[in-house]
Structures are given as structure tokens and as C-alpha cells.
């Protein structure tokens, strides 16, 4: 029963990370390259979603539309709310990485005749995303735990399953919650291990956070 629920946490985790990744990348790119108006909008976005507590946002998304007869599923609400929260944080990881890339890279891409968008997609992001992996694994560890927040809207995730066990067999309370804790230990470890592997697999000589200090200005 707990393992089944764990799958739901993982499902939510992957979905919210994907939302956070896509939106976070777009926000980061807009902050760096979007110009004045889009840049300011991106900063406002980031400010909003890094300020509102995830649980508050979750209630807004889940209970808000229901008031107008628009029912959103628990999974979808949690994915959107937690994903948007995460996108605020992820955008900052990506923005830092993009800004650490020497301006000469963009210049060289433009000099070849690439448009800005093409240069961002083919030159800037492939480098920035590699540099983001260490910071991103930190965000990963945080949102793994955030999946339990979906408990509050009745999503059948791990904590809720443990709670259900306790309701039926009170003597198992300690055991079931400890099991939940243990499962999170394993999830976090497995995730960080995979990200470490990804970091090593995609590593390119000369392109890493440490030792990346060459300036591109002349």
C-alpha cells in the first residue's frame, strides 16, 4: 500500500519537475535576454512564485476554480501549484548558469549567422543546463519532500497512505511514519545519485562550475 502510494509521489514529482523545468528555463532566458519589458515580467513572476507558500498556492489552485464550478483534479492541481513554485527556484539556478557563460559564446554564435533564439537553443542552454546540474540537485531534494503537500488536497500520496494505516491500526502509527521517512531517504538518495551520474555523463572537459573563469571580453 505504501509502495503504491510512493509511485504516486514519484509521478507527481516528475510532473512538477517537468513543469518547473520548462517554465523555469523560459523565465531564466527571459530574465537574461528578454529585454526590459519581458525581463521585468519574468522578475515579477519569479518574485510571486518564490514568495507564496506552496501550500497556499495549492489551495488556491485546487479550491479556487471549484468555486466557479471548474473542478481540477488533485494531481493536476498539485502539479501546477508545486510546479510553478519550483519554476521560480529553478529559474534562478538556470539564470545563474546562463550568466556565468562568457558573452563571447553568444557573440560567436551571432557572428555565424544564428538568430538569438537559435544561439540560445544551440549554444547557451546546452552549456548552462550542464552547469546547472549541481544546483538543480539541491532543488530536486527540496521538491521531493514537497510532494507530501498534496496530502492537503486529498491526493493519495505516501503520507496520506500512512495516515490511513494509522487510522485503521493505531499501533502501526510509528512504524508507518518511519517507513515514510525511510522511503524519502531512499528517494532523495536515488535521485541525487542519478543526477550525479548525469553530471558525469554529460561533463565536457573545460566546462564545469569550478575552473570556468575565462572571460570573453576583449
Amino acid at each position: 500500500m505504501l509502495l503504491r502510494a510512493t509511485l504516486l509521489n514519484i509521478e507527481l514529482l516528475l510532473a512538477l519537475l517537468a513543469v518547473g523545468f520548462v517554465v523555469g528555463t523560459i523565465v531564466a532566458v527571459l530574465q537574461v535576454y528578454g529585454g526590459r519589458v519581458l525581463g521585468i515580467l519574468a522578475f515579477i513572476y519569479e518574485w510571486i512564485f518564490r514568495s507564496i507558500p506552496a501550500l497556499v498556492l495549492l489551495f488556491i489552485v485546487y479550491f479556487g476554480p471549484a468555486r466557479f464550478g471548474l473542478a481540477t483534479s488533485r494531481f493536476l492541481s498539485a502539479t501546477i501549484a508545486l510546479g510553478l513554485c519550483s519554476s521560480g527556484y529553478q529559474s534562478q539556478i538556470f539564470r545563474g548558469a546562463i550568466q556565468s557563460i562568457s558573452s563571447g559564446q553568444m557573440m560567436a554564435a551571432r557572428a555565424l549567422g544564428m538568430s538569438r533564439t537559435r544561439a540560445i537553443a544551440s549554444v547557451i542552454l546546452p552549456q548552462a543546463l550542464r552547469l546547472s546540474i549541481p544546483g538543480w540537485s539541491n532543488e530536486f531534494s527540496a521538491v521531493v519532500k514537497d510532494t507530501t503537500l498534496a496530502y492537503a488536497v486529498g491526493y493519495n500520496e505516501l503520507l496520506r497512505a500512512a495516515r490511513a494505516i494509522m487510522d485503521r491500526h493505531y499501533d502501526l502509527a510509528m512504524l508507518s511514519f518511519l517507513t515514510v521517512a525511510l522511503i524519502f531517504l531512499v528517494l532523495t538518495y536515488a535521485g541525487n545519485w542519478s543526477l550525479g551520474l548525469l553530471e558525469r555523463r554529460t561533463r565536457i572537459p573545460g566546462l564545469q562550475v569550478a575552473g570556468w573563469s575565462k572571460e570573453g571580453h576583449s
Binding site: Q105, M107, A111, P205
Partner: protein
């Protein structure tokens, strides 16, 4: 009269209070090598960047084969693709191998087939003597090798001309020769080249014309022989003597 390959007219560029370029005009014929010299801070690099609009000029026009590059409706990406640019600090794409650095332009900009672009990239790497380094990443190459890859990257786009912005200034002295050799070879093969450089030996042996700039204007221009032996302006003579002492004449 035939249209020149490149025509630059009355270029002005200001950074804050400083006017770096104060009305520069010149023409480049097909197959010509022009060398820009002058004290640092006189706008030579800015001028090159104005040619391909990496730095848009405040005033003035640039024409490539009669098409106005500076026009606000110009397809700047297409025009840039036919003007190679070699940077002082190479600016090779750090996440790509030498081969990928050279093939990315043909693939992403020219929409060339991947296999075809790879073959082309390998041919260009061989041309600059780096065929065996095709799979090395920039960080695994010496400065001289990186600069040769960046020349190959420019060549793979079949450029109408190549702009060299102090291509040897960031190199250790013993690595300058290998880059100049490639550039001399290109000039002899008839590539149109605009070079900002302090390498007087290179200028002497392949330049059709030397342009001496100071304070954002062209002071004097002419064939190397004339400029070295019989400059019209005192400043030109002084500068050439000083620079030749300082840098020697690496390329013969």
C-alpha cells in the same frame, strides 16, 4: 566600374562620451587583404564589429556586394553568415568538439545535411592542419589550435570575406606562427580578409593595403611597401617603427 565586395561609408560609433569611430570609410575588392593597424583604443576592433553589425554603428553604412548591411530591414543573420569572424580569444563553443564547432554553422544556419556538414568540417580542419584533433574539446587544445579551429569554423560557411580581430594577440609567442601560416595561406588562395593585427611581418608579406588608424579616423592608407619605407604622415612612420621593434616580424 564593378561594385567592390565591401564598402564601408562614414562609420561613427560612440561609447558614452567617447567617440571611438569618427567617420571611417574604405572599400575592399574581392580577394584583397587589408590590414588595420594603430594604437590600441583607436576603434579598429569596433570597426570590424561594425562591419558585421555585432556592434551596430551610430551612423554610416556598410554594403556587402551592394546590399546594405546596415539597413534596418536587412536580413542580418543571412548577411553575417557570409562574413566570417575570427575573435581575439577564439570563442569556440565550449561544449562542442572541434568538429562540431566547425559543422554547427553549416547545420544550424545553412541547413546542410549532418553527414555532409561533418565531411565539410573535417576537410576544413585538415586545411588548418587539425584533422587529427576533430574530436578534441576546446579546453583540450592549445591557443594556437583553438584559433585554427575558429578559422576553420569561419571557412566552413563559405564566407565572402573573413574579419580577423587581433587573431594572434591572445597567443603565446611560440603559437603565433602556426596561426599566421594559415592566414597567409588563405590570403594567397584569394580569400578576402580584413585583419586587425600587430603582426607587421604578416602585413608586409600578404597585405594589399595597410590602413593606419588613430583616434577613430584613418590617418593614412597604402600598399605595405610604401607605408613602411615612405609614409606620408610622421605618426605612421613612428608607429610602424615602434610596432616592428616591439613585435618583430614573425611571419616571413
Amino acid at each position: 566600374m564593378t561594385t567592390p565586395l565591401l564598402r564601408v561609408e562614414d562609420i561613427h560609433k560612440r561609447y558614452g562620451n567617447e567617440e571611438v569611430l569618427r567617420g571611417v570609410s574604405f572599400e575592399v575588392a574581392r580577394g584583397e587583404t587589408k590590414v588595420f593597424i594603430g594604437p590600441s583604443g583607436t576603434g579598429k576592433s569596433t570597426l570590424l564589429r561594425c562591419v558585421n553589425q555585432l556592434t551596430p554603428p551610430d551612423k554610416g553604412q556598410v554594403f556587402l556586394e551592394g546590399a546594405e548591411v546596415t539597413h534596418h530591414k536587412a536580413d542580418i543573420n543571412r548577411l553575417r553568415a557570409s562574413m566570417g569572424f575570427v575573435f581575439q580569444d577564439f570563442n569556440l563553443f565550449a561544449h562542442l568538439t572541434a568538429m562540431q564547432n566547425v559543422s554547427i554553422g553549416p547545420i544550424k544556419v545553412r541547413r546542410m545535411h549532418k553527414e555532409q556538414a561533418k565531411a565539410r568540417a573535417l576537410a576544413e580542419l585538415e586545411r588548418v592542419g587539425l584533422g587529427e584533433k576533430a574530436n578534441a574539446y576546446p579546453a583540450q587544445l592549445s591557443g594556437g589550435q583553438q584559433q585554427r579551429v575558429s578559422i576553420a569554423r569561419a571557412l566552413a560557411m563559405d564566407p565572402k570575406l573573413i574579419l580577423f580581430d587581433e587573431p594572434t594577440s591572445a597567443l603565446d609567442p611560440e603559437l603565433i606562427g602556426e596561426v599566421l601560416e594559415v592566414m597567409i595561406e588563405l590570403a594567397r588562395e584569394g580569400m578576402t580578409m580584413l585583419c586587425v593585427t600587430h603582426e607587421m611581418g604578416f602585413a608586409r608579406s600578404v597585405a594589399n593595403e595597410i590602413i593606419f588608424m588613430e583616434h577613430g579616423v584613418i590617418v593614412e592608407q597604402g600598399p605595405p611597401q610604401e607605408m613602411f619605407t615612405n609614409p606620408r604622415h610622421q605618426r605612421t612612420g613612428e608607429f610602424l617603427r615602434k610596432i616592428s621593434e616591439l613585435y618583430g616580424e614573425t611571419a616571413k
